[in-house]
């Protein structure tokens, strides 16, 4: 079986860092949102949970910035095939529907990345504003605004990420190995990322 490399070792590592830091942030974030004292079993107490949340935020932000090199260039390429992909519901709405050949990331993955990048940057900036309280004339206004931005971005992510996890695991068997070995079978790639496979010279 011919395999083809889809993710470098560094990209795999960074994706895991992003994923784990996101999970820590999302779980503790849910804890703050709904005052879930049950989480004390995991984090100890709310003071510790706050510190973990803040420092995981630094890791998440750094990791998110690194993803720009991995996913942004391809995500910004948006053409007729991408539109057709969306019009066909990505081929997810019925077993019969087909989608046109896709790049290294398909149209849905491109959109997903843009959503994650934007909401991630927004949640990071607002989080640091709440944490570090920069010297501004009206800090209370800035914190209230940051609190709003932080929560809108959280809502976007808490909806988008589970769908991403489902699509990358159960919905598309064989996809998860990109996050483990970084390679995929050539046949698998031909069906899902035909344009990219062609560009790679296969």
């Amino acid at each position: 079986m011919t395999v083809i490399r889809k993710a470098s070792a560094f990209e795999i590592l960074n994706h895991w860092v992003l994923a784990v830091s996101f999970l820590i942030l999302a779980i503790s974030g849910f804890g703050f949102l709904f005052q879930l004292e049950q989480l004390n079993a995991v984090f100890g107490n709310f003071n510790a949970m706050k510190n973990i949340h803040n420092y995981a935020g630094i890791v998440f932000t750094a990791s998110l910035i690194l993803t720009i090199f991995h996913y942004l260039p391809v995500s910004l390429k948006f053409g007729a095939d991408d539109i057709a992909w969306f019009l066909n519901g990505g081929g997810y709405l019925s077993k019969k529907s087909k989608v046109p050949p896709q790049d290294e990331l398909n149209a849905g993955q491109k959109l997903y990345y843009i959503v994650i990048l934007l909401s991630g940057l927004a949640i990071a900036a607002s989080g640091f504003a709440i944490w570090l309280r920069p010297q501004v004339p009206d800090i209370r206004k800035l914190v209230v605004l940051s609190h709003l931005v932080h929560n809108i971005a959280f809502d976007l992510m808490i909806i988008a990420v589970p769908l991403h996890i489902y699509l990358a695991t159960l919905a598309n068997p064989g996809t998860l190995r990109i996050m483990i070995t970084g390679t995929v079978p050539l046949e698998w790639a031909r069906k899902r990322h035909a344009k990219w496979v062609r560009k790679m010279g296969y």
Partner: protein
């Protein structure tokens, strides 16, 4: 238990600041060195060690050289409290059975969101980043005593009692509507103003920041239902349509 409240009557206040001192004394709050800023208002603002402050307002007046207004400024013990609403740490801010808004420094995580969520800019934080504000002497009132400020006030400018009682008495004395009677579900500190609240340095219509209300009503439930919805849609797709399989065909 009947909700308790303070009634502040600026017209009775002589600006002696006995309440400020009594508050510091009961709560064991150290004094702060300040500089003369040209007003006898001192310190100029609430601090983590100053829960209650007399605000001095100087107004031009026809009948006198000047009109002086003395207003006690402190936590209002809101029924619908912005600080409690926004606080992420369970038990850091809480309502006592008397209706006071108390705090617990051990449970406070020092995020300072309450500072932004309070419509009256009341909460302060100490050197350890912990919340600090008037708690209506919740330790005293739990024992049936009155707060240190009202106990000390020599003129009756700060009175303590059952909230309904206080409102009833004020109405009989000719105050149709007290400041704080209905705002934010009703404040636990009521003011008998003879003029527009603005003149006394108070917000005409105090409100929890709109975005905080929006967050509470929309964004918070959306996080819950959004996560559940995304999981449900995934499961439904898996069961009804099923995963993409690799057999046959050229494009998936």
């Amino acid at each position: 238990m009947a909700r308790k409240a303070l009634l502040i009557s600026p017209e009775l206040c002589i600006g002696c600041r006995g309440c400020q001192t009594a508050c510091k004394s009961w709560n064991q709050l150290p004094a702060t060195k300040t500089v003369n800023e040209g007003s006898i208002e001192n310190p100029p603002d609430l601090t983590p060690n100053l829960y209650n402050k007399i605000r001095y307002v100087e107004m031009p007046s026809n009948s006198n050289m000047v009109r002086w207004l003395f207003v006690s400024q402190r936590c209002m013990h809101c029924d619908d409290a912005g600080c409690i609403k926004i606080c992420p740490a369970p038990g850091a801010l809480f309502k006592t059975k008397e209706g006071a808004v108390g705090f617990d420094k051990d449970k406070c995580i020092g995020c300072k969101l309450c500072v932004a969520g309070c419509p009256f800019d009341v909460p302060r934080y100490d050197e350890k980043d912990k919340v600090s504000k008037c708690h209506l002497c919740s330790d005293r009132i739990a024992e049936g005593l009155e707060p240190a400020c009202s106990k000390t006030c020599p003129t009756g400018a700060i009175r303590y009692g059952d909230r309904d009682n206080i409102i009833g008495k004020a109405q009989k004395a000719g105050y149709e509507k007290l400041y704080g009677q209905v705002d934010l579900g009703g404040l636990g500190v009521l003011y008998a103003f003879k003029d527009s609240p603005k003149i006394y340095g108070m917000d005409e219509r105090p409100q929890i920041p709109e975005t905080v209300v929006f967050w509470h009503k929309v964004l918070k439930p959306l996080a819950y239902w959004g996560l559940g919805g995304a999981a449900a849609v995934s499961l439904l797709h898996y069961l009804v349509i099923g995963p993409k399989k690799d057999e046959g065909g050229d494009q998936l």
